[in-house]
């Protein structure tokens, strides 16, 4: 007997939860590849597909939940709390900025078209660079400046890391963008009665 599938639209809290789970799992699983991470693109998608309070809830939840893992498991006690909290303020606000910009730039372009994904991917590049410039400044302020390093030195050292981050965004924007835009537009497949017209077609 063939399995009938129908599509069910997800309410915003469920889609937000799905993004948070994907972000936490992705960040932890990709931890060995520095700066390759899905959080930036998921933040953009949260602003773009969900908007409102979700634009802040999704990136902050992903970071907070995965940080609990990182700072209590592999990095326990490695960095002073003051440095971590200071840098975290820049990282969290950076993702919130990316999410709000995703909503601002993409909210009126939500159609199931290649063009939507192409624009999302293109916009992710300057947003990634802006995010890295902001967080590198935070890194300089809380970690590097006390060691005597200047801001230009920190930005010069940041270049290869930002290139990898741009690679990460280019990689994940079409993959996650297509996936979550499809879920947002059509819903998720669930077992159930096929629509009446589909039943008639098959007879």
């Amino acid at each position: 007997m063939p399995l009938n599938l129908t599509y069910r639209k997800l309410p915003k809290p469920a889609l937000a939860l799905l993004m948070i789970v994907a972000g936490v799992a992705g960040r932890i699983l990709l931890a060995s590849a520095p700066n390759v991470e899905p959080v930036l693109i998921l933040s953009m998608l949260a602003g773009m597909l969900l908007g409102g309070i979700y634009a802040l809830v999704v990136p902050v939840s992903i970071m907070a939940l995965s940080d609990v893992y990182f700072y209590f498991v592999p990095y326990e006690g490695m960095y002073p709390a003051f440095s971590i909290l200071g840098l975290a303020a820049f990282v969290y606000s950076g993702y919130a900025f990316v999410s709000l910009m995703g909503g601002f730039l993409m909210r009126r372009r939500l159609v199931w078209r290649t063009r939507t994904i192409a624009i999302l991917t293109t916009i992710s590049v300057p947003l990634t660079i802006a995010y890295d410039a902001w967080t590198a400044f935070g890194n300089w302020l809380f970690i590097s400046a006390p060691l005597g390093q200047t801001l230009p030195q920190v930005y010069a050292m940041q270049v290869p890391f930002t290139l990898i981050h741009v690679f990460s965004s280019l990689l994940f924007a079409p993959i996650l963008g297509t996936t979550f835009l499809a879920i947002h537009t059509f819903g998720v497949p669930v077992p159930g009665e096929a629509p009446a017209e589909a039943r008639q077609d098959s007879q």
Binding site: P34, P80, R113, T114, I117, A118, V159, I164, P174
Partner: protein, 147 residues
């Protein structure tokens, strides 16, 4: 243009842009020193209340880390490090002779060559004939800790 054609065109541009960014990443990474002629160098490891000195007559290990690794194998003291793969291809030393990095006291293993504080990863730092490599467990402090 039909949607399928647009999708294929986007796919092509996407793969090309990923390749270009990867090439740029590879281009900005410094090259690791290639093996050279055997050299003589001095290694000093300064922990909390202890010092290890190693002066091989000739060695082909010509980086700050490979010289430390040679001393580790020769003397048998404990050495622990974290490896970073592509594109960094370097190491972060976390423990020497039982003394482990301690973030709560801001004490870390760092190195200097001829009194100059490290400016790159220990696997990328070339050691030349007659150099003095110092590994020191101290708060990060630039040139001061290299004295």
């Amino acid at each position: 243009m039909r949607e399928r054609t647009k999708a294929l065109a986007f796919l092509g541009v996407w793969v090309l842009s990923l390749g270009l960014v990867l090439a740029a990443v590879a281009a900005v990474q410094p090259a690791r020193p290639s093996p050279g002629a055997p050299l003589g160098a001095d290694l000093v490891i300064r922990g909390e209340g202890w010092t290890i000195e190693y002066s091989p007559a000739r060695t082909s290990n010509n980086t700050a880390f490979s010289l430390l690794r040679e001393a580790n194998v020769t003397f048998g003291f404990e050495l622990d490090w974290v490896e970073y793969g592509w594109p960094y291809e370097d190491v972060f030393v976390t423990s020497i002779n039982g003394t482990r990095n301690d973030g709560s006291r801001n004490l870390w293993w760092q190195y200097c060559v001829n009194g100059a504080y490290a400016s790159q990863g220990a696997l990328h730092q070339e050691v030349r004939d007659g150099d003095i490599v110092l590994w020191v467990f101290a708060p990060p402090g630039g040139a001061e800790l290299c004295r």
